[in-house]
Amino acid sequence: MNKICPSLEEAVSDVPDGASIMIGGFGDAGVPFEMIDALVAQGAKELTIISNNAGTAQEGIAKLIHLGRVRKIVCSFPRQADSKAFDERYLSGELTLDLVPQGNLAERIRAAGAGIGAFFTPTAYGTLLAEGKETREINGRHYVLEYPISADYAFIKAFKGDALGNLVYRKTARNFGPVMATAAKCTIAQVTEVVEVGALDPETVVTPGIFVKRVVQVGPAHADGPAQH
C-alpha cells in the first residue's frame, strides 16, 4: 500500500467539472495553497467549494473564484478585508452562497464522515440561517435539524504523512483537515514532510490512513516549521 503521489499535478488530475471539493484551512493556516494552484492549472470548473473562508486577494480559493471556476460555495465567512473575487461574483449572481455557521459546518462535515443521517443543533435556532429548517424542543432547549455535508474531494494540508495516509497536523493549522478527510470520497493531503511508515507514533496520529487516498509532499521538509507560501 503506497498512497504517496509524486506530484500535485497528478494528485488532482482526475477532478472532473462539477465536482464538490472541501478545502481545509482557517485564515491562511492549513490552506493547501499549492494544491489549489494545481487545480487552477488543471482547469476543472463548475465546482462546489466547501470551506470556512472564500479566500482573500488573489490567493487560494479567491483565485478559483476570480477565474470563474466556482459555481457554489458553502462556507461560514466569505467576507474578508480583501475578498474582492468573492464579492464581485456573488453580487453579480454568478456564485451561489450557502452560508453555514462555523460550528454547524464542522459538525455537518463530521456527520457525513460518521454516518449520521441528521442531528439537532442549538446553533442558529431562531435566526435567518435556520429559516425553513425543521426545529424541535428537546428537554426545554430549542434545536434545528441539520444534515450532513459530504464531497467528492477533500483538499487538506497536514504537517507529516506516511505512505498509509496517516497524518499529523501543526498547531492551529489542524482546523478543518481532520473532519474533511472523513467526509470526502477522495481525500488528498499535501504534507510538509513524508515520513516512513512506523515513524508516526500510533498514539499521536490525528487522521488515520483509512481516510486518505493520496499524499503529496510539497516544498522542502522543515524540521521546525511548515512550508511558507
Binding site: S76, P78, Q80, Q102, K171, T172, N175
Partner: protein
Amino acid sequence: MSQDFQRLSRREIAIRVAADIPDGSYANLGIGAPTEVADCLPEGVTIILHTENGLLGMGPKPPPGEEDVDLMNAGKQYVTALPGASYFHHADSFAMMRGGHLDYCVLGAYQVSVKGDLANWHTGAKDAIPAVGGAMDLAIGAKSVFVMMDLLTKKGVCKLVERCTSPLTGVACVRRVYTDHATFDITPAGVVAHDLAPGLTHEALETLCGLKLLRKS
C-alpha cells in the same frame, strides 16, 4: 436630562468584565473589543482561553519576528500557546463550545434585547455580503454569555432594545451586558442596571435607553 457623567473607556469596561471572571475559569473572548479582557485580568488570576480555531490555553501575541503562520486566533491574529495548551480540530473545538464546557464567552454586539436576544453578525443592511463565522456558535457556546459594547450607536441610538431589529445571532442567550454607561443583567424579572458610570442616574439611564430598568436589590 443631563449628560453630565463620565462614560467608561473601553479599557474600563474590559476591566469590569475581567473582574467578573473568576480564577480558574475557561473563557472564549470574541474578536474585537472582548480581546482586551485578557489584558485586564487581575494579577494571580488564571483564566484559560479558548480560541475556536482549535486551541485551548491561548497565550498573548508573540514578540515581533516570532510569529508562527500556523498559530493564530479566531481573529486571524498571531498568538502563542501557553504551557498546558492543547490543539484539536474544528468539530472537537465547536463541540467544546456547544456542549457548554466554557464558563464564559465575551462578545461584541449590534443589539441586545431585554430578553437576552443577541444581534451581532449582520446589520440587516440590504446588499451586505453576509458572513457569520462562529458568531452563532459562540452565542450558545458557554455557560454564561457576556456582551461588551457601547450602549449607544454613533448616532446616539440605544443598542439595548425591547426587541432586536437587526437579524438575530441567538435567542435569549445573553446573561449580562457591559457598556460604557452601565452593566445590565438580563434576568427573568427584567433588566437590572448596576455599576452606572460616575454621575449617571438610574432615571437618566432609563431615559437614554427608553426602557424600564430594575435596580440591583
